[in-house]
Symmetry: C2
Subunit: 224 residues, 2 copies
């Protein structure tokens, strides 16, 4: 399943020195979740910082009609829960484990202590949060400015970065639609357009990219 906000990636742990990592490990309690297990629901009030050690966590919201809206997917090294600490908010999304997942949990009291002891923690958090904020702003701009085919191309290009196989992205159209927040029909049409343009080749559960350079060029031409 493709991710949304975990754009260029910017996991907290990547900004942490060895010393800070050890500090975090020491303060945290590791919790293991099975695939599909619920970490917390929208509205829960348990302040603390969580860091994904392995696996991944999907965030989203179920609204009144039961429709689920995906917000993001965070993989290893990423943190979440800052809003419960710095914005005094209850959990804003539902969080579900994707695959077997281990989370390092730091409750508010321990976190506050750690923040005092390790000045680098605040810096690392700042970097991670700032990058995510600006990714979100970019995404919002795209959402309002770019037609669906371009947004679709961007998502495919993004996924190609973290793809295992070079020149090919393993993903079905339903998941793409889900991530983009549009219907499968629309994504199908958008992908069809892109295929007609010759920058993608559609397969069964995968999308081939004949030329990464040409894809990026095509996108750049259209996102100003």
């Amino acid at each position: 399943m493709p991710d949304l906000l975990d754009f260029g990636g910017a996991p907290l742990m990547e900004f942490a020195s060895g010393r800070l990592r050890r500090g975090i490990r020491a303060a945290a309690t590791a919790v293991r979740y099975q695939d599909g297990a619920v970490l917390h629901a929208h509205g829960d009030d348990k302040p603390g910082l969580s860091i994904v050690r392995s696996g991944a966590v999907r965030f989203g919201l179920v609204d009144a009609d039961g429709t689920y809206i995906a917000t993001s997917l965070l993989g290893a090294g990423h943190c979440f829960g800052e809003a419960t600490l710095f914005a005094g908010r209850a959990r804003t999304h539902d969080a579900v484990a994707v695959g077997e997942t281990i989370i390092e949990q730091i409750d508010k009291a321990r976190f506050d202590r750690l923040l005092d002891q390790e000045p680098d923690l605040a810096r690392a958090l700042l970097k991670a949060t700032t990058r995510r904020l600006y990714s979100a702003l970019d995404f919002m701009d795209d959402l309002r400015r770019l037609p669906l085919p371009v947004r679709t191309a961007k998502l495919v290009a993004l996924m190609a970065n973290s793809a295992e196989q070079d020149g090919s992205v393993a993903c079905n159209q339903a998941d793409l639609a889900f991530t983009l927040g549009v219907s499968r029909v629309s994504v199908g049409k958008a992908l069809g357009d892109l295929q007609k343009e010759g920058i993608l080749k559609l397969g069964y559960g995968k999308i081939d990219i004949p030329s990464r350079a040409r894809l990026h060029e095509w996108i750049a031409d259209r996102s100003a």
Copy 2:
């Protein structure tokens, strides 16, 4: 002109102690801009933190066809430019002064020094950035989940909070459309719907809110 991301407000300076405020003042250079003056353009590369002392700054992007997309409007106490410091990015938006505006400018070298001297600076920045991030995520959810009349009602309700006149918001439909990123026709229709529901009354350059409570209730019923 209504603002977008400056939601519940969460200006940096509000999270700063007296001591930190003095430190920031000492490190900063104040620059004065006339209404409409350009502070920086998308793509400029001048890392540093800026804080709005008075007036306001509008952020947006002009895309290829010349269409302008508004992102946010930041008033006194708010900061911007974090991305140039923590994400190593060039300016992501065009910034224009709204009204006579004074900006406190701190270049990268001074900022780094200040960050070392004042541990509270990182905390205050974290609070401000986290709140903005989650406001942005909320807004994105709304954008994908809620029909236009509800989004419109939310914006009007938001503006009512910072309105001078109680029970009335001074704003024309074109600006509302601009802020919501939709056409004037669509906003006109949405507002018409809301008027038919009896929760708003449309005027010339203003919108009256018969009952703030009823407006909030109407919104709550529809945002799940």
